[in-house]
Symmetry: D2
Subunit: 139 residues, 4 copies
Amino acid sequence: MFKMYNTVRMYDTDAAGILYFGAQFRFAHDAFEALMAIEGFTFQQLFEQEPFIFVIVHAESDYKYTLHVGDVIEAETEVANIGATSFAISYRFFKETLEGRVLAGTSKTVHVCIDKETRTKRLLDPRYVAMLAKHHYGD
Amino acid sequence: MFKMYNTVRMYDTDAAGILYFGAQFRFAHDAFEALMAIEGFTFQQLFEQEPFIFVIVHAESDYKYTLHVGDVIEAETEVANIGATSFAISYRFFKETLEGRVLAGTSKTVHVCIDKETRTKRLLDPRYVAMLAKHHYGD
Amino acid sequence: MFKMYNTVRMYDTDAAGILYFGAQFRFAHDAFEALMAIEGFTFQQLFEQEPFIFVIVHAESDYKYTLHVGDVIEAETEVANIGATSFAISYRFFKETLEGRVLAGTSKTVHVCIDKETRTKRLLDPRYVAMLAKHHYGD
Amino acid sequence: MFKMYNTVRMYDTDAAGILYFGAQFRFAHDAFEALMAIEGFTFQQLFEQEPFIFVIVHAESDYKYTLHVGDVIEAETEVANIGATSFAISYRFFKETLEGRVLAGTSKTVHVCIDKETRTKRLLDPRYVAMLAKHHYGD
């Protein structure tokens, strides 16, 4: 399971004093970019060298525990699904508390492979399928 | 139906050249804040004067049509559900194109009423229920 | 003088309960994009059709009056300087208060014209100089 | 000299394909929050326990080298000035390239100490002065 740490920053909070809901998607995309990078697939390479890009067609988050500025969260990221032309990533964000490790929130993103020329869906490249499969732990 | 216009800005886009997925939640919250404001319920008043706040426990977006910097979107916002301690808002974002008005994306946010003292759920205040009901068009 | 209104949103605030300093640059760029658009120069057109882009090489803001969520600000925008290969935009943000209209903050951005091919500075296009000159009110 | 690493993320870029100028202030505040945290001064503690807060009254950035998604930057942070009621932080952001380490940008933020009750300036707390002095390397 791919894990990384992140920190809730001032710009992630709002006047309610806690995490702004949209900021959790920042943690999700950080984790996705980091997972790609450790596998040798960078977004810059994607833009410059591949005939396709990935476009997010769905994103969702649930919020279960209050997060404040300075809180360190551990993100667990895995591939939730691999389809013919798309894949889904799921994220769980944990926070260490005095009562133990609590699940602060979850997110999910669905990515579709789009041909740069035709701007339509295309089959996932086998290199990406193989990479994603390493982080897919079954149904 | 509450409607407002918004514009896709440079900071809403990313290096893929199109709307960054997280930015659609900005349009959603803009619409929610604007709906509240025209009804006379401002967030600043909420923070300063009410014994409760609203916390988002779920948020989701679907993306259906590519948006670029400068695109003007029309947001249609309605109350999707009113519960005892929570409510849901749904958003539809449209773009005018040469082929007509297209649905560019949808979002949904679920808000729970939290007591500032006890930090636990509490019943929705009747004033807010009445306001939300004006924007709720049935099941 | 080009003027537009903007609203401080929840995502513009932070846990201190007031405007997050970085958010003022959002108001600045909104104003710059809007000024360009009313003159018929859109960023999307810039990316797709021009052999150059504009890159910001300097940005600064001063903060003079506390802003909260829901505050409506009026942005006054003018071209502060037009050089051979660059130009500067200045912004003043006002808020209406019970004591009258107060200056809440100022910003400045400096933009350099970069050739897309050579990635080096190039002379400002005369069409852009003419457009900018309309919003430049002298030294 | 306090140093930390950061990564340019997709949400830091815009449709020009490079770092959105406002995102550099994210790197600056990350560095400031991290410097505070390693010294044992957290923002959450500041909000909950101190009779004062720090408000940014000036911020500026210069941009010297193009940054793309995935670029790793090293931030060097130091206290540029300590006054009676304010202090300034300066930041330098470096990127490793094939030609060696290059300065990609610089930022500066000026922070004023504000009394929570009176909402006016107050003298810097000696504990904070001592902490800041550790990161101040001369005039």
